[in-house]
Symmetry: D2
Subunit: 286 residues, 4 copies
């Protein structure tokens, strides 16, 4: 298939690379230059503008936030009116997904992904996809090239974005509650690693606890795998969606406050799991 | 081994039964009569007092709360000065575990368990055990008779109680955050079951999400598997321990408030997962 | 002085009326027509565009939110480049105040007001004013015409907006905590009015408790004096400012959630003091 | 009147002194010796036991907590069966007040006070009093000797205790929200004192804001006027009463957590207004 790919950060480069490997004709574009060399060397074409990358069958976007997506869609030489089907992988607001759906006259699929850069490189992402059935089917081979499993979420694209930001909220909630329990344990004479072992050895045996739990036990918060300000951005997407839907989410308030605490005290470059440092600081643990 | 067993609720009966099956000489006692018939039929002896059940090698207690344990230990004909090693399986405060350790002159092991009645019957409990090494070793065959795995937590008995109540807090935190995410999803047009499928299919694939998630999707809150007032009792144990250790736990505040909301609005017989009903009520979901 | 006045809601009409009464030459503009008749009858001129209202010495704006202010400043026939000094009375974000300061080349004063429509009519508003000293002095006779007291807050306009939204947060926090205490009292057998009498009779003798307390005692939440969605808008301004400044504000999270609960369950037309209804609902008080 | 007075801390000494001044025959008792010398010099008698102090018309208690009150009432030589009417001024749980009511066969009045030691010395306390009408009337001259105003709260003694602990909760809530607003202001370039001046100059003109506000502006948290652990004790009384009444109180959760933070980080001797330090720490303000 002829596929455009816009947004060559760590995630985007890996995803575009897997599309090339799978034999698709890939045209790439990135705002800042110099990110596409390995891809071009592997066979991808370089587009001069976002619109140029969107002349094929499908154009995928994997960008930092709502503003960046708005830029490549509605900005100069944007893809708003380009012929390709727009498949949005970015973590954006459901509200923007609704706006894109309308702007593209329905030719839009939301397909945010779960997984970190190593999973992206290994084509092991999870893809939460929503949009018109025919479009989802058209994307199937592309999703197969980048991920290990697709979760179809109906024909309304923004539903996939709701699921994505809810998932990120669930991660933060799991980290926060684990950090609170660990602080209690530690100040009561139980090692964090012991508590974690019991939890993951019983009914909490999931990657979210194993992976973030290890970070908390080993105090690994820098360099950030996913920086706290990005986490804050995502939690703000959740808060905006919750306000719009009139849904009180008190645990969301807790994690947002602890992200702010972590950033204020540890710096902008702390991992979002650094909410644990806010918890520890509150308990007077040095 | 000669084992006494005090406290024949649903959990205790199953545990004592497995001790009998494993060939131990079991003597049982329960405050209210009529709970021991099947056990006696299976070969257990009936004691007239708690102290009488504590004349062998080990006496296990599996009771509702601190007050009940204080009663059988320090009350009339209590086991405070009995020869048997006291092994406490109840979910009690770390503070009471410390007091028991002292009262028994060190001959005390805390061994709270994770698992519901069916797991108890199947001898599939998880046992979090702490106490002097020699005592833990002595208990090994008994723990093997009732559980699938023992987590040794050092020589200070109350450490096991800290871990147990932390685990219950983690369950409540997982249910609460799942309920918040589901309310957001539902009011945004995503079915609860869809969100749950994505979560458990990605990095939240643990029994705590699968099991409680199904309850939340199917609105199964009565009859209670574990009633909200018992959950509130446990969260109060956490709050007391946190206050003593000077550890702020904001998510604990959220789940306690939602337990109160659930009890106030749904009745004393609602499951502790009924915190989800408090979440839904706040969002105006009928 | 030659004064333009843009935004003729309940507050704006009263303020503009007092400027006319004080002898100023007032030119008014409002997006929707028909709001200026009494003012024109009293001697005000009617402008055809915002820019036309900003040809005199000072132009005041009193609008609903950031978007409305952006419209009259940066929209077609806006006041961005008009000769008059812009004095902003609206409750807007500090971020927008910073942008206005820059857009007007420093010829901008933020002067949000405290007080409800009756206070506006009686020229009893409190004015929190910040901007270059010379501009504040120029505005002094105008502020005197509309208010009972001016609080000068330095030369950075957005400081006044920070104070204004902080004040609104303080009101919500007072109402929320009063509602929680009243729910506890009521379910413990103490009448709400009794509790309020003790509070205002001792160290809580301030209008915020007396006025909102009476609403809570008498369950007066409709028609809204200040509607919950407007309160939510203001609390969102606070949340945005707090996120930008990296300041955790857990009580803010509580009041936002209860505003959402109130709107979800009582409708968009409930007063912002309706957070008390969310508190009562949680406690199972019908 | 013949009055016994039990509990000669700073508050109790001042209150007993005012009873002596008003011409009553006062007999005093205190657990630790040496606190009664000035009182005896002024004309009070010294009792050897609590019971001895309770042989007159009325016996007043002003003690630290539930445990201390239980000690002088139900302990050896306690006042449980003494002839005097028991008037309890201590800040205790409503549950203990109910128990005292029953133990004294109805001859019990709860009369907790609002005010700090200087107010006690100046006989300017506020007295929240509840109990049978005839008993309240009998106490009127005594309350007049120690306070500036009595708030009668009906015939159920524990109602007065509910009001007292609710009042202390309201103080903590006011301090917490003020601290949050001040942190936002400060990090946004507005001085704390400026914000406070606007608040108290508009609708927040009450002693609670003026007095605690000054502490927050001047960072006066040591020596403690009222130590954080005592504040925590009172907030725990509120939490217990709220749990019993099934009343969610999310702001209570926030202030309890910040009291724990303040104690963990500042020491046991910090003032309860030190919740503001927890707020500032979270925001990264040094």
């Amino acid at each position: 298939m002829k596929v455009g790919f816009i947004g060559l950060g760590q995630m985007g480069r890996a995803m575009a690379g897997n599309l090339v490997k799978a034999g698709h004709e890939v045209t790439v574009w990135n705002r800042s230059p110099g990110r596409d060399e390995a891809l071009v060397a592997a066979g991808a074409k370089r587009a001069a503008t976002p619109a140029e990358a969107a002349q094929g069958d499908v154009v995928m976007t994997m960008l930092a936030d709502d503003k960046a997506v708005e830029g490549v869609v509605f900005g100069e030489n944007g893809i708003a009116d380009a012929p390709a089907l727009h498949v949005g992988h970015s973590t954006i607001s459901p509200a923007l997904a609704d706006r894109l759906t309308q702007a593209h006259g329905g030719a839009y699929v939301s397909a945010p992904v779960f997984g970190r850069p190593p999973a992206a490189e290994a084509a092991k992402l999870f893809v939460a996809a929503a949009g018109p059935e025919e479009h989802l089917q058209r994307c199937a081979p592309l999703f197969e090239a980048i991920g290990q499993r697709v979760f179809p979420l109906g024909d309304k694209p923004s539903a996939a974005n709701v699921v994505k930001i809810s998932g990120n909220f669930m991660i933060m909630a799991a980290v926060e509650s684990l950090a609170e329990a660990m602080a209690l344990a530690e100040k009561s004479g139980v090692e964090r690693a012991q508590l974690l072992e019991v939890l993951t050895g019983t009914i909490f045996g999931a990657p979210v606890y194993a992976n973030y739990g290890a970070m908390l036990v080993e105090d690994r918060f820098k360099p950030a795998g996913f920086a706290a300000p990005l986490g804050l951005k995502d939690m703000t997407l959740v808060a905006d969606a919750a306000a719009k839907a009139r849904v009180p989410m008190p645990v969301l308030g807790v994690v947002r406050d602890h992200l702010l605490d972590a950033i204020a005290n540890e710096g902008e470059d702390v991992d979002w799991a650094g909410v644990a440092l806010a918890v520890r600081r509150g308990a007077g643990i040095r």
